[in-house]
């Protein structure tokens, strides 16, 4: 059975959904909001579900065809025969892209269903779903593209959708601010910085390898590294290792933008201004993971950068290899964002910083060469973070209804999500402020239980998906020996503890204790459309870990055992162990990750002396698992102790954590403030200078008025007064007067006497005769 050809349908269905909602949706909703919403929402949802169906078909096809990758051409795009350059719009169907497709369309469909309940009653209902389908469309382009340029189209497309959806409620607030629109702009502008890196990386790839297709790029990268070729850039040339390192570093810059890492993570917390389903779909489960997808897709380049560093000492400033930098960036982001999350009061901001932190885990995994672990964590994170966001949306929904219950007169506008602090005005109510919640576990049972599952998974408690994926990642960092890896391991372990603590704090503040506000007292459960996706995601969160279970051995010392596996490498044991139920994801993904093939015995990378591919342990590393479980449990318990025992009795009491002053520095310390103090004023000064001094004063006033206009005026004056007057007129009149004078002379010969003419003829004849007589003969 080959259904590879179905791949374009993956894009066609969301495109149909988008066009329907963009062109007709508004009419439907305006004509009859109830039926219209149903049409608009269900068509969008069906589009996403159909795409999910196609992804499942592709999954089955891959299973039936021994995971054989296939490139499905859709159309020629850019063809320049003279330069031997062709970029086709082709879709790459392999295990990695299909994994992403399944996550995007599967989680996406559930969030579509949820959004129908959440967005009910919104005046721009169809616009929301049009954007949602457009997002699915671009995200699928991103993950299915068979070359970097198509990937970049998707990359920019999802960025556009992110912008549109963050600023979805772009209304002007009462104080004249446009908080939501500003948040959208911020996300877009911060992402420009990352995309700048992407563009440079793509240009560099094309210059170096003469192609943008994944396969050709990777093949020539390996070949050029093996032969240690030199790349020429006109004025200078560089060894291939340095070029690959630069490419990977630029990819990292792109990933820090899209996947919200240090130094560009600042946009993601603000992106919570969008509707909650947007936060769940785009800013937790799918779009923000595209940086990880990019790096995992480019695993060959990442490993070659590692090889160049180990073998030739080529790194970033000669100090650190590109993958190690990736790992450190990811780990420090994980830690910093985890600390910031301690101090947030907004239920969604906690989750936002948590997302930044978890993305840091994945980026760190990629940097350590644990591509499968990164993808594993990406998938499980998509499940439980989508679940948590949808749960928080449900909580917000419930709080809003509770608030309505007490304030009937209050108008029906949506909350301003981006409010950082709880406003002191007595009548102001922020349904996202956790200090106003409490005791919701009795009011919203479904939300509570599913949220609990998600939170435990995120904290890394044993049977849930988060435990397995986070543990695989930590085990990888622990088992492979290098200074960077150890540092990353400890940073991530502390970050994992932070995760457990802030999730515990959030659970306590939201669901336990007594209601601290009238709204919380009157909150009630959300409709079925919202709770059913929660339940499905909760089930996925529970069983998600089973897709890549490690082998569990009870005999012998745990550490010694795991080392043994690593040392034996990818030999017979690996093949034998992957036959069973365990490591299904690894077995599935390694078909797409060229690096496995290369680092095996006989592969190009196995020949190097110093370089060794950092394999992920295939068995459970007991030390790591026990440490992280203990830390997670202690984090939860500590949070329970701090928040539950000494919880604020009313919404205005200070947080007990505020006694820990240094912790609260993180609320203001992070890069956000730094940027506002340095980069933003500098940039503003620069653009002011460019606008007023360079553009207006110099360019308009000076260059245009003084130089161009004055030169033009004097030149045309010269033309009119000198050239035309004396040159052109003089010539014409001169010809006339010369002709006239000549004629005056010549007319004198015309006497009117016939005899004089006759004499002329005679004389002429005589002259001719004389000429012939004297000269001709």
């Amino acid at each position: 059975m080959t259904a590879y050809g179905l791949a374009p349908l993956l894009l066609i269905f969301p495109a149909i959904g988008f066009f329907f909602n963009a062109l007709f949706g508004r009419r439907f909703v305006e004509a009859d909001s109830k039926i219209g919403e149903r049409w608009s929402g269900w068509i969008a949802t069906l589009a996403a579900l159909s795409a999910f169906g196609v992804a499942l078909a592709l999954f089955a096809t891959l299973q039936a065809n021994h995971f054989e990758a296939m490139v499905v051409p859709v159309a020629d795009w850019i063809v320049i025969p003279a330069a031997d350059f062709a970029v086709a719009w082709a879709m790459r169907v392999d295990t990695l892209s299909v994994t992403m497709m399944l996550v995007v369309t599967g989680v996406g469909s559930l969030i579509h269903i949820y959004a129908m309940g959440y967005m009910h009653g919104d005046k721009d209902f169809s616009r929301f779903f049009a954007y949602f389908n457009m997002f699915i469309f671009f995200m699928l382009i991103l993950v299915s593209g068979s070359n970097y340029l198509v990937l970049f189209v998707g990359w920019e497309g999802v960025g556009l959708c992110s912008f549109l959806l963050i600023s979805y409620w772009f209304t002007v607030e009462k104080d004249g601010k446009m908080v939501n629109a500003d948040a959208g702009r911020k996300a877009f502008i911060v992402n420009r910085v990352g995309d700048f890196g992407m563009v440079l990386a793509i240009i560099l790839i094309f210059w170096t390898f003469g192609s943008l297709g994944f396969e050709r790029v990777f093949e020539s990268a390996i070949e050029m590294t093996v032969h240690q070729e030199t790349v020429h850039f006109g004025f200078f040339s560089a060894p291939i290792g340095a070029v690959i390192t630069a490419i990977v570093a630029l990819f990292l810059l792109g990933a820090t933008g899209k996947s919200a890492q240090i130094p560009l993570y600042v946009w993601l917390p603000d992106a919570m201004a969008g509707p909650t389903p947007v936060s769940a779909l785009i800013h937790a489960a799918t779009m923000v993971t595209s940086g990880i997808y990019l790096l995992v897709r480019s695993n060959v380049l990442v490993e070659l950068a590692r090889v160049s560093f180990v073998e030739q000492g080529i790194g970033i400033f000669g100090v650190i290899s590109a993958p190690d930098l990736i790992a450190l960036v990811g780990a420090s982001t994980a830690l910093l964002a985890g600390l910031i999350a301690f101090t947030q009061f907004d239920i969604k901001k906690v989750l936002a910083y948590s997302t930044v932190s978890q993305l840091g885990f994945m980026i760190a995994a990629v940097g350590m060469g644990a591509y499968v672990a990164a993808m594993f964590h990406l998938i499980t994170h998509a499940f439980f973070k989508a679940l948590l966001f949808l749960g928080s949306g449900s909580v917000i929904h419930g709080m809003e209804h509770g608030h309505h219950h007490i304030h009937h007169a209050h108008s029906d506008d949506h909350p301003s999500d981006a409010e950082e602090f709880h406003d002191q005005e007595p009548d102001h109510f922020d349904p996202q402020d956790m200090r106003t919640m409490g005791g919701l576990r009795h009011k919203m049972k479904w939300t509570f239980w599913t949220y609990l599952i998600g939170a435990l998974a995120l904290a890394g408690i044993f049977p849930f998906a988060g435990f397995w994926s986070k543990d695989e990642l930590l085990a990888h960092a622990n088992v492979n020996h290098s200074n960077v890896f150890s540092a990353v391991y400890w940073m991530l372990t502390i970050a994992a503890f932070c995760t457990a603590f802030y999730m515990g704090r959030q659970l306590m503040m939201v669901f336990f204790g007594k209601p601290r506000h009238g709204a919380a007292e009157h909150a009630h459960e959300s409709p079925r459309l919202m709770t059913v996706p929660l339940v499905i995601l909760a089930v996925l969160t529970i069983i998600g870990g089973s897709m890549n279970l490690p082998n569990i051995s009870f005999g012998g010392g745990a550490a010694a055992d795991s080392h043994a596996v690593v040392e034996e490498g990818h030999g017979e044991e690996m093949v034998a162990s992957s036959k069973g139920l365990t490591l299904a994801l690894e077995h599935w993904l390694e078909e797409s990750l060229l690096i496995f093939e290369l680092s095996e015995e006989g592969g190009e990378l196995a020949a190097y002396e110093n370089y060794e591919y950092p394999h992920t342990p295939t068995t459970l590393v007991w030390v790591v698992a026990i440490i992280s479980t203990l830390l997670a449990l202690s984090g939860l318990l500590l949070a329970m102790f701090v928040v539950y025992r000494k919880r604020p009795l009313s919404a205005t009491d200070p947080d007990p954590l505020q006694k820990l002053k240094p912790l609260w520095w993180f609320r203001i310390l992070p890069l956000e403030t730094l940027y506002m103090k340095t980069v933003v004023p500098a940039f503003k000064w620069l653009s002011d200078w460019l606008a007023f001094t360079v553009d207006w004063n110099f360019w308009h006033d000076f260059v245009h008025n003084n130089i161009i206009r004055d030169m033009f005026v004097s030149f045309s004056t010269f033309l009119a007064d000198v050239f035309d007057k004396y040159g052109v007129d003089g010539t014409v009149n001169g010809i006339g007067s010369v002709t006239k004078g000549l004629a005056g002379v010549l007319r004198k010969t015309q006497t009117g006497y016939t005899r004089s003419y006759a004499l002329g003829i005679f004389l002429g004849a005589v002259l001719l005769l004389a000429y012939f007589l004297w000269f001709a003969f």
């Binding site: 010969t749 006497t751 006497y753 016939t754 005899r755 006759a758």
Partner: protein, 102 residues
């Protein structure tokens, strides 16, 4: 009594041509000028036939026939012109015909 040689004929022709030329240049009566032109033509004819006989071929005589034919045509046109001029100007003095004076 010496024999009449070619020189005699040439001399006569020269005299005739000279008289004709002077007539054309000096006289004002159009008829007289016309007659002088005829005289010049005939002096040329005389030279042609003299040379023809002297050289013993007929080329000159053939040319003379052409000249006579052209002269006849010329007379017809020229006299018609003179008559037309006389009708308008009441004069055939060529000094009166100075309309093209510059």
């Amino acid at each position: 009594m010496s024999e009449v040689t070619i020189e005699w004929y040439i001399a006569l022709s020269v005299v005739l041509f000279t008289i004709g030329s002077l007539g054309v240049l000096l006289r004002r009566n159009a008829i007289i000028i016309f007659m002088s032109v005829e005289m010049m033509l005939n002096s040329a004819n005389l030279a042609f036939v003299s040379f023809a006989r002297y050289l013993g071929n007929l080329d000159g005589q053939v040319l003379v026939f052409f000249v006579i034919t052209v002269a006849a045509a010329e007379v017809a046109v020229g006299l018609a012109l003179i008559v037309a001029i006389f009708r308008t100007k009441k004069s055939i003095s060529i000094d009166d015909l100075n309309l093209l004076k510059g």
